[in-house]
């Protein structure tokens, strides 16, 4: 096709898209939703499905949990059989990565293999769920979803030195099995929850501290700071947009951001609904809550505000001053800056400031200069009756109201969304494959009844996340082998494995890969919690920073071998190793990691500094452990990296290699083999 032909063809479509783009906000009556929109599956109350019953004894033998019954019904209908159970080593390795993101120790594998008691499997699950590494692994999933970073992005990419507390809060919440409705509530309205502790010192009151830190959720988006002529209203609109979109994506699984400029194209979500949701956040502002004695704070603030105001005024003058004046002003500013009191320790949080509440209007095309009708707080129209009225903009404790609605058992979205996320992290694919989009443009659930049954169970057990893990992990579905004897036939019928006729194999995430290499080579520093670490990086990388001196390598070298979740999440400097293995870019919510395969990954693992350094340590610790017998070295190295012994042929190839090559090169090869990088 030539370009002119193509354009001829594309023109009507383009015109259609354009006319839709130009659909503008107006004060016209709200659009009436169609029956199809109203009846979209995710807006319906949870069903109460019966667990399927089976007659064939073979079927009943396979079923260990209600999950299996729902999955088996669909498989039977499609004429497919589940894959056989995975062997014990495979299951234990899979479980270890699934729950902790770390390789199983050879001892754990051997113990489990030898344990023939009936409850060996559930006990292993409980053992790993109780490990502090569980929170590190599952906390990272949540950090992906909320686009956690410790710097603001854009040109200044300013660091928030206390944002690590949010990461620790998340890890701790998972480890403590905090009920999800509580976890959500703290993030949505922690600053309002904190008010009940007024006058308390957050250093000693842990509940107060957690509430304030959790509310930092609203500050996790990128922030553009402005130099020169301030664009106050514009910047505020950007901040409100980030906050509103995050609530929609993270908790509701709705792409509400699409409705900022116009009624949503695909979902029954009005532009007005978008601003009604935003109205809950109208008084929320970034706020570093002092992490000191309240009296010390008030003294500090007086002094600080006074100096800051003087500096601000001078800066305003300097913009248009001539060279001499500018130089003089610069000196004055430097002098004043040196007098600024050292920053107090503070918590990265938000506060509801009613005197600085942004009046919320419907904005034409999302433009803050084009305000239309004012709107108050209300939940999305499709989920409530038409006669529910907006709350006025000055309703007190607005985010608490929002949190109450988000976590209400009657909200058809929140619980389904988190249950689906948990499912996805266990199976690589959600029951709803589009985990951040439960709208009409997302994919429908593959097993709608299972999703509702599981969600109902989740709410009935008080939003207990570890209970969902246990159900899934004890299911026969999860314990299937990654390979199926009927693969050829099944792949034709269900190429995406949506019906779960086998367990999908997955490549380790970037974090799992780095952490595993550290653990296997004996270098992993297992310390939990604390301020984030900056590891040494090449000068080429820091030279790509607008402010290279932001990268201050952590002095204590043993800290450089901490788990990846404790390395700083800096928007403008990501470690190339992590980037190559599909770590998300920290700018927008990541519902599901990509898993791509390309040559720079091979170069990273073959020639990279990390893999070569760790291969050397691995070779050393291996020799110290088992001596110099090639057989024992090869076997132990295989066991540590892949969880099992080499095949005979592999053993032969390895020993042959060792005849003329150093051990370091052999273990480097093991960091590169599929049976290390993939979890079966």
């Amino acid at each position: 096709m030539t370009r002119s032909q193509f354009r001829l063809w594309a023109l009507p479509v383009t015109a259609l898209l354009l006319s839709a783009e130009l659909a503008q906000a107006s004060d016209k009556a709200d659009r009436v939703f169609t029956q199809k929109e109203r009846s979209h599956w995710s807006f319906q109350p949870l069903a109460d499905p019966e667990v399927p019953q089976f007659e064939a004894s073979g079927d009943n033998d396979w079923i260990s949990t209600p999950i299996d019954a729902f999955v088996l019904r669909r498989l039977n209908e499609a004429g497919l059989k589940p894959a056989p159970r995975g062997d014990r080593r495979t299951l234990a390795r899979r479980l270890s990565y699934d729950l902790t993101g770390l390789p199983p120790t050879p001892e754990l594998l051997a113990d489990f293999e030898a344990d023939d008691s009936v409850d060996a499997w559930p006990r292993l699950i409980d053992q790993l769920l109780a490990s502090p590494h569980y929170g590190e692994k599952w906390g990272q999933h949540w950090l992906d979803v909320v686009r956690f970073a410790e710097s603001e992005g854009f040109e200044y990419d300013r660091h928030h030195d206390e944002a690590w507390r949010f990461r620790d809060y998340v890890v701790r919440s998972f480890n403590g099995n905090k009920p999800f409705d509580r976890f959500a509530t703290e993030q949505l309205c922690g600053d309002e929850l904190a008010q009940q502790f007024e006058g308390d010192d957050p250093r000693t009151n842990a509940e107060l501290r957690d509430a304030l830190v959790a509310a930092g959720f609203h500050r996790l988006g990128p922030v553009r700071r402005n130099a020169g002529n301030p664009e106050i209203a514009f910047s505020r609109n950007e901040v409100l947009t980030e906050m509103t979109n995050a609530v929609g994506t993270v908790f509701l699984g709705l792409t509400v951001g699409c409705a900022r400029c116009h009624d949503h194209f695909f979902d029954p979500f009005l532009q007005k609904d978008y601003y009604r949701l935003q109205a809950f956040l109208a008084e929320t502002h970034e706020f570093d809550t002092p992490f000191v004695d309240p009296a010390e704070w008030s003294q500090w603030k007086t002094r600080h505000d006074d100096l800051t105001q003087q500096i601000y005024e001078l800066k305003q003058q300097s913009g248009n001053a001539n060279d001499d004046e500018a130089e003089r002003i610069k000196q004055q500013i430097t002098e004043l800056q040196s007098q600024l009191p050292a920053p107090l320790p503070s918590l990265f949080s938000v506060a509801g400031l009613s005197d600085r509440r942004t009046p919320i209007h419907l904005l034409e095309r999302g433009d803050e200069t084009k305000q239309r009708q004012p709107v108050g707080m209300r939940v999305p129209s499709v989920l409530v009756d038409n006669d529910v009225r907006e709350l006025s903009q000055d309703t007190p404790q607005p985010k608490t109201k929002l949190a109450e609605w988000v976590t209400s058992p009657d909200n058809p979205l929140t619980a389904r969304v988190i249950v689906n996320r948990i499912w996805q992290y266990h199976f690589g694919r959600g029951l709803v494959p589009t985990a951040n989009d439960f709208g009409m443009n997302g994919e429908p659930p593959s097993h709608p009844e299972l999703l509702d049954w599981l969600t109902r169970h989740f709410i009935e057990t008080d939003w207990d996340m570890k209970a969902v893990h246990r159900l899934i992990l004890t299911s026969s579905v999860w314990q299937q082998s990654a390979t199926s004897p009927q693969k050829k036939q099944a792949e034709k019928l269900d190429p995406d494995n949506a019906l779960l006729w086998h367990m999908p194999r997955r490549r380790m995430t970037a974090e799992e890969l780095r952490d595993s290499m550290l653990a296997i080579s004996g270098e992993l520093n297992e310390r939990l919690t604390g301020p984030s670490i900056m590891v040494p990086v090449s000068p080429e990388l820091t030279s790509l920073l607008y402010k290279p001196d932001q990268w201050q390598v952590t002095e204590d070298r043993s800290e450089h071998s901490r788990r990846t979740i404790y390395l700083i999440a800096k928007r403008n400097l990501r470690l190339p190793f992590m980037e190559a293995f599909d770590q998300p870019d920290l700018q927008t919510s990541c519902a599901r990691r990509e898993s791509s395969t390309h040559a720079p990954q091979a170069l990273e693992l073959l020639n990279g500094r990390l893999s070569n350094r760790l291969a050397a340590s691995f070779a050393e610790s291996l020799t110290a452990e088992v001596g110099s017998s090639p057989e024992r070295l090869v076997q132990r190295a295989f066991l540590l990296t892949t969880g099992r012994q080499p095949t005979e042929q592999q053993q032969r190839a390895a020993i042959e290699f060792l005849l003329s090559h150093p051990l370091r090169e052999f273990v480097l090869a093991l960091f590169n083999v599929n049976s290390f990088l993939y979890v079966d």
């Binding site: 370009r3 594309a10 870019d585 720079p600 073959l606």
Partner: protein, 477 residues
């Protein structure tokens, strides 16, 4: 099942093509279907395997983006404004309308330009004395004097120039192009950025990045030192033969493993072959000593102040010659005055910056042309915005987004033409305004890509390079 990336990508592209077709009219649909099928046939294993463009006649195969970071002044380069000189020192007449700057206040005075403009080439387009050598290529260049964008601060404008959004997190044009067309070389990275060694830019690394696209489409930052591509050099003490043996062992152990090799695992094996080939063949590409003395002189290699930019331009040519898809060559980095960000003294800044790039750019255009590469290489020149007609701090100029110049050459662009115009003082694009999205759309068009077809599902939306639909600049294609 974890899909191989190739599968995922193909699915994305297929799905959106089908949706697009379904929503269009049947008679045109069948036409498009034929093109789609052809494209599918050409799609092979890897995410980076070369894919046919949408249009058969697409002229360009590669893009070289000469990024003048910081924002060069339109009235000092390609947009002569005699009226501005007449009004030097006066307030802007109200008839020109309002403009919002980053620093300059409403009471600032207009600043005339000290530059001399002369008519160049057969087309007689006026080019300033900052670009005497580039001016010699003007008959191959289409100057767009009516560019505008949405932001007047560096980071946001840089993101918009690279990714069509004023905030980070979206794929840059290089990643989109690679996603759309795949790579034509398997021994070199296909989307390359050569930053200015003087330092970084405000928008930082996310500006060049792949955003939410899979990491196969990430940029490769070429470093000036001994290791131009990360991890290309062997660790010390390891010979190429050692490494070959290790790679052989990896492949052996994988083949001898219990679980059979499926498509994804086979694709991984293939990456080791590619990695090895990159290691052995890429160094030859980076070796500029293989070029003749005459070529070095043409670009200005070996003489100051052109040496650095000349080396990078010459390398850009060697890269596109070997099938690299997208090369960004940045001029300017570090503190503002080391970029084209002439707040204090536009004369001093632009004389210095232009002297570094004029000859290398002219050398690049000339060299591409004489090797027959210019027809298939689209060269784009420009910054993230232009500069204010008003003075700032004496003889400097502030940022300015309402009217400025960019240019395109090669890759099927009709040279010797001027598109659009700003008003009498270079404040505002008044004739045929061209937004970054139109630049993006034109660039995609020359590569045989189309903004709607080239999309990726992210957070429930089919995202594309342009936020609002761009238009092809028809006058120059």
């Amino acid at each position: 099942m974890i899909h191989s990336l190739a599968e995922q990508c193909r699915k994305q592209l297929d799905l959106q093509r089908r949706e697009f077709l379904a929503s269009s009219f049947c008679s045109f649909g069948s036409l498009a279907m034929a093109a789609m099928l052809r494209r599918e046939q050409s799609a092979t294993a890897g995410p980076l395997s070369a894919r046919a463009p949408y249009y058969d006649e697409a002229p360009a195969k590669s893009v070289i983006f000469l990024f003048m970071a910081g924002g060069p002044s339109q009235v000092e380069t390609f947009d002569p404004k005699p009226l501005l000189n007449k009004l030097d020192g006066q307030r802007r007449p109200a008839s020109f309308g309002e403009a919002k700057y980053q620093f300059v206040k409403a009471d600032a005075k207009l600043l005339g330009s000290a530059r001399k403009f002369t008519k160049r080439g057969e087309s007689g387009i006026e080019v300033s004395d900052l670009f005497p050598k580039t001016g010699g290529c003007i008959d191959d260049i289409a100057v767009i004097r009516s560019c505008y964008c949405d932001k007047v601060v560096h980071s946001a404008a840089q993101y918009e120039l690279f990714s069509g959004r004023t905030f980070p997190g979206f794929p840059s044009m290089g990643s989109w192009v690679l996603y759309g067309l795949g790579a034509e070389t398997d021994s070199l990275p296909s989307y390359v950025v050569m930053a200015d060694p003087d330092g970084a830019l405000e928008a930082g690394q996310p500006m060049y990045g792949n955003g939410f696209l899979p990491s196969a489409f990430q940029p490769t930052m070429l470093s000036p030192g001994a290791e131009p591509v990360r991890n290309l050099n062997l660790p010390s003490g390891v010979s190429l033969d050692d490494r070959r043996a290790t790679v052989d062992l990896i492949q052996n152990l994988d083949r001898l493993d219990r679980s059979p090799l499926d498509q994804e695992l086979a694709a991984r094996l293939e990456t080791y072959r590619l990695a090895f080939r990159m290691q052995t063949r890429a160094p030859e590409t980076f070796d500029l000593a293989q070029e003749s003395k005459e070529t070095h002189e043409l670009y200005g290699v070996g003489t100051e102040p052109t040496d650095d930019y000349a080396r990078r331009c010459l390398l850009a040519r060697r890269l596109v010659e070997r099938g690299v898809r997208f090369v960004t060559v940045v001029s300017g980095g570090g503190p503002g005055n080391m970029q084209w960000d002439a707040h204090k003294d536009v004369e001093e800044n632009h004389l210095r910056m232009a002297a570094q790039v004029d000859q290398p750019i002219a050398g690049l255009l000339t060299d591409l042309k004489r090797r027959g590469l210019l027809d298939s290489t689209l060269v784009v020149w420009g910054g993230e915005f232009g500069r204010s007609p008003e003075a700032q701090v004496g003889r400097g100029r502030d940022h300015h987004n309402l009217g400025f110049s960019m240019w395109m050459a090669g890759g099927g662009i009709k040279g010797g033409r001027v598109v659009g115009a700003t008003d009498g003082i270079g404040l505002r694009a008044v004739e045929r305004p061209v937004h970054f999205r139109d630049i993006h759309t034109t660039m995609l068009n020359q590569l045989g890509l189309e903004q709607d077809e080239l999309n990726f599902l992210h957070l429930g939306r089919r995202e594309r390079l342009t936020l609002i639909h761009g238009e092809v600049i028809d006058e120059i294609v």
